[in-house]
C-alpha cells in the first residue's frame, strides 16, 4: 500500500505571536516551529497501517521554504520511508497550497493520501479536501480511526451529536483528527536511520493567489481585566447577581 502523508510546519502554540511591521504577516523571529499536531496523527495512522499490513510505503510530503527540511526529517525519524519537499519562495495556504499539492499528487501513484484535519496556524481546515476536489478523489474529513478492507477504506468520522461510519474506494483522501492515533516518539535508531532515507527536493508548482489575501492582522480586542468575586459557595449569590445584571441569566 502506498500512503502519502502531507505535513505542515507551524509555530508552537506557546509562541508569542507578534504582528510584523507590515501589519499583514507574523514576525517569526525566535518563534519555535513544530509539526502540526493533526499531521502527526495522520503520520501515525499511516505508520500503523503499514505495520498492520506488514508491507507498504509511507511518503512524507511538505510544502514550504528551507525550514521544512527539519520537519520532514522528524517524519522520517518517526518511520516514514521517504520525504518530498516542495519548495516555495512564499508561504502558500488554502487553494494555492491545494493546487501545489494536487499537482504533485496527480503525478504519483498512491492508494491513500492523509492530511491532518487542520493546521493550528491558519485553522482553515481546507487543504486536504480541496486537493481531493481538484484531483477528483473521494474524501472523508474529521476521521478518528480507519481500516482497509480490500480496495475500500472504512472510516469513522466525528460529526455533531455522534459518529458516522463511511466507506470509500481507494485511492482516496482522509483528513485525520484526534482519535486513535496518538503519535509515537522517534527512537534514536529512527533518528539515525532518517539521515539515510531518500529525500527529494523540487520546486512546487505554485500559481495564483488562491483567491484570497490577508489584508491585515491585529491583536484581538482587549478584554477588561476580571475579578475574583469571592471564596467558596458563599460567593455564588454575588456571582449570580453579576450574571443577572449582565443579562446572562434570566
Amino acid at each position: 500500500m502506498k500512503i502519502v502523508v502531507c505535513i505542515k510546519r507551524v509555530p508552537d502554540t506557546e509562541a508569542r505571536i507578534r504582528v510584523a511591521a507590515d501589519g499583514r504577516s507574523v514576525d517569526v523571529t525566535g518563534v519555535k516551529f513544530i509539526t502540526n499536531p493533526y499531521d502527526e496523527f495522520a503520520l501515525e495512522a499511516a505508520l500503523r497501517l503499514r505495520e498492520a499490513e506488514g508491507e507498504g510505503e509511507v511518503v512524507a510530503l511538505s510544502l514550504g521554504d528551507t525550514g521544512i527540511a527539519e520537519t520532514l526529517r522528524a517524519a522520517l525519524a518517526m518511520g516514514a520511508d521517504s520525504a518530498v519537499h516542495l519548495t516555495t519562495d512564499r508561504p502558500l495556504e488554502g487553494l494555492a497550497a491545494a493546487h501545489a499539492i494536487a499537482a504533485e499528487l496527480s503525478g504519483r501513484d498512491f492508494d491513500l493520501a492523509l492530511f491532518g484535519l487542520k493546521a493550528i496556524d491558519d485553522d482553515l481546515q481546507a487543504v486536504g479536501v480541496m486537493v481531493a476536489e481538484l484531483i477528483d478523489l473521494p474524501a472523508a474529513t474529521a476521521v478518528t480511526e480507519f481500516r482497509r478492507e480490500g480496495d475500500r477504506i472504512i472510516a469513522e468520522r466525528e460529526v455533531e451529536g455522534g459518529m458516522e461510519v463511511v466507506e470509500l474506494p481507494t485511492p482516496c483522501i482522509l483528513t485525520i483528527t484526534k482519535g486513535a492515533y496518538e503519535p509515537r516518539y522517534a527512537s534514536l535508531k529512527g533518528i539515525m536511520a532518517a539521515k539515510k532515507k531518500p529525500f527529494e527536493e523540487k520546486a512546487a508548482m505554485a500559481e495564483g493567489d488562491g483567491g484570497i489575501q490577508v489584508e491585515s492582522l491585529q491583536p484581538p480586542p482587549e478584554r477588561q481585566p476580571g475579578r475574583i468575586v469571592g471564596e467558596g459557595p458563599d460567593a455564588v449569590p454575588e456571582l449570580l447577581r453579576i450574571l443577572r445584571e449582565q443579562g446572562f441569566i434570566a
Binding site: 502554540t13 493550528i120 477528483d136 455522534g162 459518529m163 491583536p219 484581538p220 475574583i228 459557595p233 449582565q246
Partner: protein
C-alpha cells in the same frame, strides 16, 4: 447578485448555527442591497423548515429535498451547491462552521476555483469586495482577508451573527437532486448518535466546561446538572480529561478540540493552559471556578470564585434552579 446562505438541516431540524449563517448573509446584503437566498438540502421532511426561512429575512429558498438524502453525502451536496452557485452567480456563499459546513465549504471553493475563509466572526464589504474577519494562530490575532475574486466562500462561527426573527415569507424553488456526485463516492454505512441529545459545544449559547479538577469521570454529573439548570448549556471538556477517556473528543474545547464563542463560558476545575484558552478566549463572558487562586484561568476570566468546586457548583446549580423557578 444574491448572497447564498447554505442552511444545514439535521434530522429535519435547523440547528441554531443556521441563524448565524443567515445573519452573516443578511449583514452582507444590508451593505450591498442584495437579496438573501438560501439553499436547503435534505430528506423530504425539511419542506416546513424551508417555508420558515422567510421569517429570518430570506427571500428565496432553493430546496433540494428527496427521500434518503442526508447531509452526510458530501459529494452530492457539493454538486448541488456548486451548480447553484454557477447558475445564480452569488456575491458570497456562506456556510455554517459546523462539521458539515467545514467539510462542504472548502469543497465548493475548490470546485469554483475561489478563495475560502473559515470560521469567520465578521464579514465586511469595501466597495465591491468582500472581506472576511477571522481568528488565526489560536485566536492570538484577528485577520482581515480580502477575496480577490467571486463568489466569496465563507464558513461562519456559531453565536457570531445574531439575527432577529420577523415577518416575511420566502419563495420556495425546488432544485433537482442529482443521482450522484460525479466522483466515485463516499457511502455512509452507519450513523451513531452520541449519548443523549446533547447540544453541541460549538453551538450552545452557554458552555459549562470541566477539567482535571473534577477528579473522576463520574463527577461530571455535577456539570451536567448545572447545564440542565441553565437550560441552554452544553458540557465541554479540557484536553486532559478527553485524553484520560472521561469525556468524548467532541466535547473538547481547545487547540486540538473545538473553538467556541458562547455568550457565557464556565471553566470549572480547569487550570487555563494556553491550548485550552485558544478554544474559548473569545467567549462573551468567562467565569472560572478553581481552588488554586494562582491558576492562569483567573487571568482570562471576567469573574471567578476560588474554592472547592464540589461545594461551589452544587450551590450554583441550586441557586439557578431557584432563580428560574
Amino acid at each position: 447578485m444574491p448572497i447564498l446562505a447554505v442552511v444545514e438541516a439535521r434530522a429535519g431540524q435547523l440547528p441554531s448555527i443556521s441563524r448565524d449563517v443567515i445573519g452573516a448573509a443578511r449583514s452582507v446584503a444590508e451593505a450591498t442591497g442584495d437579496e438573501v437566498e438560501a439553499v436547503l438540502i435534505g430528506g423530504a421532511d425539511i419542506r416546513g423548515a424551508a417555508e420558515d426561512l422567510g421569517r429570518w429575512g430570506v427571500s428565496r429558498v432553493h430546496l433540494a429535498a428527496a427521500e434518503g438524502v442526508e447531509w452526510n453525502e458530501p459529494g452530492l451536496y457539493r454538486r448541488i451547491v456548486v451548480d447553484l452557485a454557477r447558475t445564480r452567480s452569488p456575491r458570497a456563499v456562506i456556510f455554517p462552521a459546523s462539521a458539515m459546513g467545514r467539510d462542504l465549504a472548502p469543497r465548493v471553493a475548490a470546485r469554483l476555483e475561489v478563495g475560502y475563509a473559515a470560521e469567520c466572526v465578521g464579514v465586511e464589504i469595501e466597495g465591491d469586495e468582500v472581506i472576511a474577519v477571522r481568528p488565526r494562530y489560536a485566536g492570538k490575532v484577528t485577520a482581515r482577508e480580502r477575496f480577490t475574486r467571486g463568489p466569496a466562500v465563507l464558513s461562519v462561527r456559531g453565536n457570531a451573527f445574531p439575527v432577529e426573527e420577523g415577518e416575511g415569507s420566502a419563495e420556495v424553488v425546488p432544485v433537482e437532486v442529482p443521482a450522484n456526485s460525479g466522483v466515485p463516492g463516499v457511502v455512509v454505512r452507519e450513523v451513531r448518535a452520541g449519548e443523549g441529545a446533547r447540544l453541541d459545544v460549538s453551538e450552545a449559547p452557554v458552555v459549562v466546561s470541566g477539567g482535571r479538577g473534577l477528579r473522576e469521570p463520574g463527577n461530571f454529573r455535577l456539570l451536567e446538572e448545572l447545564a440542565q439548570a441553565l437550560g441552554n448549556a452544553a458540557v465541554g471538556a479540557s484536553r486532559a480529561v478527553v485524553d484520560a477517556g472521561w469525556r468524548p473528543h467532541a466535547e473538547q474545547v481547545g487547540q486540538t478540540g473545538k473553538t467556541v464563542a458562547p455568550a457565557l463560558y464556565f471553566a470549572i476545575g480547569i487550570s487555563g493552559a494556553i491550548q485550552h484558552l485558544a478554544g474559548m478566549r473569545t467567549a462573551g463572558y468567562i467565569v472560572a471556578i478553581n481552588k488554586d487562586p494562582d491558576a492562569p484561568i483567573f487571568r482570562a476570566a471576567d469573574a471567578g470564585i476560588v474554592g472547592d468546586l464540589f461545594e461551589i457548583v452544587p450551590r450554583l446549580t441550586e441557586e439557578i434552579r431557584k432563580m428560574r423557578g
